[in-house]
Symmetry: C2
Subunit: 460 residues, 2 copies
């Protein structure tokens, strides 16, 4: 008897050719993200190039009830791209067209496989930039699917605030347009926001209309270091409460700072709790913001600002910040990382961060802390030595402890990585059984056969 | 035989007492908003006071398939609160508790019947404010339901960006919590955004967790007047494209300016196209923004800025702007207004506004124009003399013409008033049949008996 997936492959061959494949190394590549969940091979990989191909492929998968797992850059930290029930991994990384850039309206339309670095490279000459910057160079389709953010969200919002509209292929192959090009509209249900953060469980995003921002006239970056973590966190809270419109305010603990200094050759910084700042605006407003922030930091015991003045130095600083995951991982040769991703109201940030630090110390594990502290969001990267299943269990237990504290402080188990496999157990605790039932009913309505990324977001 | 609605009234009597009523004058009050749709009496009015009462009442309406129409301040301009199929008007205007204000986190939790003026009055001593300000003093629940905005959206976003979470009663009486208190989260479907803009068709919002903002250290307001509408619009476009972070930038045409000057006694302004500006920030940044804006305005022929320096003068200016609807209506004694609400990408604003002005002139009707121009959103208030059904028909025809142009320019038929009754015919044109089918399927899932605000948003 032909397996359903073989029927899909055969039927897709006429329009995908050898871009739908059971090649072993491609299947292996699509069996995992960058997380610690056990890899699972998809039955096949489809390297799609157009919305129409995605539509025809999904119609087939729907007809044959074959699981579909959307795949972008494979940088998920929560198992989103692992095909836990097999099926077809639909790889959108070839869909990299920038369809249009509307300079006057500061928006653009791109295909879902464009990465943030590709886009910013493309935009440079237009004087515009796209501010949402997770650590990895992930696809923007993937960022939409996980409701991603990054270091600039404190000023420019998350991906949620920077998407104007989407093209989405529904599980049965229908194609819809959501939103549009206008900055605001009050017509109809907000389908754009329904798909943002839906983690591939409701359909596949193939095109995105993005809001862009003008490159600021003046940008200045600075670091400042502290004697203790407490003063570092208190500075963040005070800067936010003072309403200083910082473009970035990143918290890095002593362990992470040691890792960054070694990995990224930032030899002018000590292994001490540190803040990375960036200010955007006119030269005068940037100077004013920086002076206000410096005064607050001094009050909480900072050793003074070190300025990254020229663009190359600034780029090096932020690349080091974006490489925090890799510099952390480099602390133990061959290790893997379990990244926590809690977020709390800013007034509870000290409790959350200092509590996590205490948990880490008590666990005996190595877990550098880094965070988008202005949003109340921080990560502990719990390092798991190779081939040590007991350590992996301890890492998950530590993650659970940090999540439980964040939830008790009115927070969320994930600020930007998403639910995937790893955070499913917390979804009902965080949202309550009634809201979860509504989410499940929306899922059943849009994906009645349950083919879209099964085993993610919801337990069973 | 007992009518279903009578069964609901009888069953609700034990917990609502005489707060569920068929009193004639209350039914009349709940038969219409501020729009020109024909009034329709509800069968009864329920003056609810708690989420639990709403829950019990909706469970009864669901069981008996009785229509439910949520009612706040009754300020809808698109027929949202008109009970076109009778049933029960659920009035939330008594639910006015400010449940909590978290000064350190700049958020608060309120009941849905709190109005924006009530809230800002309550917040004044905390140094915080809520920036979403439609012209009327509507309830914040109603603002959520219609995805409202106002003059400050250009800087602070619409209600969509300022809601952190909701309590919603579903059509069958279940109560859900959406969102939370954190600034960002990537866990689960965005139910908050699903209910924002749902116009009472999916459930009733009873509580709202709002994001607040610090009252800026410095605020300065100014007006500037132009010889023609073109220079006025071009100034708005250039200010936005220059990235000046204006807090407000409102466009007012010659007809509206004459109306405002007379109604609000702004005797230092001519009946000429005008911009109202407001700048927020530190004293230095406000001065810098104002200088930049003034330079751009001068380039497009403005006659120079007039500053509203003290708070009383500033308050008078913005009250005059918020009263634009009433000053417009006052131009023809006893008339009513059909308010258009189109929004376009900013680069097309000149075409949209100048085209609308031309349409108005050709129609021979009086229709002052006023707009949240920085968002690409403007209103023509088409005046309809009393007892003149032919004029009402001409007003709707003019509205359709203005909407058609906005849609052809990549815009939306409504920036902030919503679909209600008046814009239903445009929903499919704007979103396409596939997206509309998805919206209908969501409606059918959450409200399988179609009791929630029937006859709104969707045609039949």
């Amino acid at each position: 008897m032909t397996r359903p997936v073989d029927a899909v492959i055969a039927a897709a061959r006429p329009f995908l050719g050898d871009r739908i494949t059971t090649n072993a190394s491609l299947r292996e590549q699509h069996s995992h993200g960058e997380d610690t969940n056990p890899p699972v091979l998809p039955d096949a990989v489809a390297l799609v190039e157009t919305t129409e191909e995605v539509s025809r492929l999904l119609a087939l998968c729907h007809a044959h009830s074959v699981p579909v797992v959307p795949f972008g850059a494979g940088t998920s930290l929560e198992g989103h791209v692992t095909p836990v029930r097999g099926g077809i991994s639909v790889d959108l990384s070839r869909m990299t067209r920038v369809i249009e850039v509307n300079q006057a309206d500061m928006d653009c339309r791109i295909e879902a496989g464009v990465t943030r670095k590709m886009l910013n490279q493309h935009l440079r000459d237009a004087g515009l930039f796209f501010p949402v910057d997770p650590g990895s160079d992930c696809t923007i389709g993937g960022m939409c699917a996980t409701r991603a953010s990054g270091t600039c969200a404190v000023r420019y919002g998350t991906i949620r605030e920077n998407v104007l509209g989407l093209t989405v292929v529904l599980p049965d192959g229908r194609v819809i347009q959501t939103g549009g090009r206008v900055r605001k509209s009050s017509t109809g249900y907000d389908l754009t926001r329904l798909f943002i953060g839906s983690e591939g469980t409701l359909g596949i995003i193939t095109e995105i209309q993005l809001r862009l921002h003008g490159i600021p006239e003046a940008i200045s970056a600075a670091t400042c270091q502290f004697g203790d973590l407490e003063g570092t966190v208190e500075t963040v809270i005070a800067v936010m409460q003072a309403g200083i419109p910082v473009a970035r305010i990143e918290l890095i603990d002593d362990v992470q700072m040691a890792a960054i200094a070694a990995y990224s050759k930032l030899d002018n910084l000590d292994a001490a709790p540190t803040l990375f700042f960036e200010f955007h605006g006119t030269p005068a407003s940037v100077a004013e913001q920086a002076a206000q922030a410096e005064e607050i930091a001094a009050h909480f015991g900072a050793r003074g600002f070190k300025w990254a003045t020229d663009p190359a130095e600034r780029a090096k600083l932020w690349q080091a910040r974006h490489d925090a995951y890799w510099s952390g991982i480099a602390l133990i040769p061959g290790c893997r990382g379990v990244a926590t991703d809690t977020v709390v109201p800013i007034s509870r940030l000290a409790e959350a961060v200092l509590g996590a630090k205490q948990d880490i110390v008590e666990s005996g594990m190595i877990a550098p802390i880094v965070g988008h502290a202005g949003d109340g969001n921080f990560h502990a990267l719990i390092l798991v030595p190779p081939n040590d299943p007991a350590a992996l269990e301890r890492a998950w237990a530590l993650d659970r402890k940090i999540v439980a504290r964040a939830l008790s402080l009115g927070g969320s188990c994930s600020g930007e990585h998403g639910v995937g496999i790893g955070k499913r157990e917390f979804l009902e605790i965080e949202h309550g059984p009634e809201a979860l039932a509504v989410m499940r009913s929306l899922k059943a309505t849009l994906d009645p056969r349950g083919i879209m990324n099964p085993g993610k977001m919801f337990l069973n």
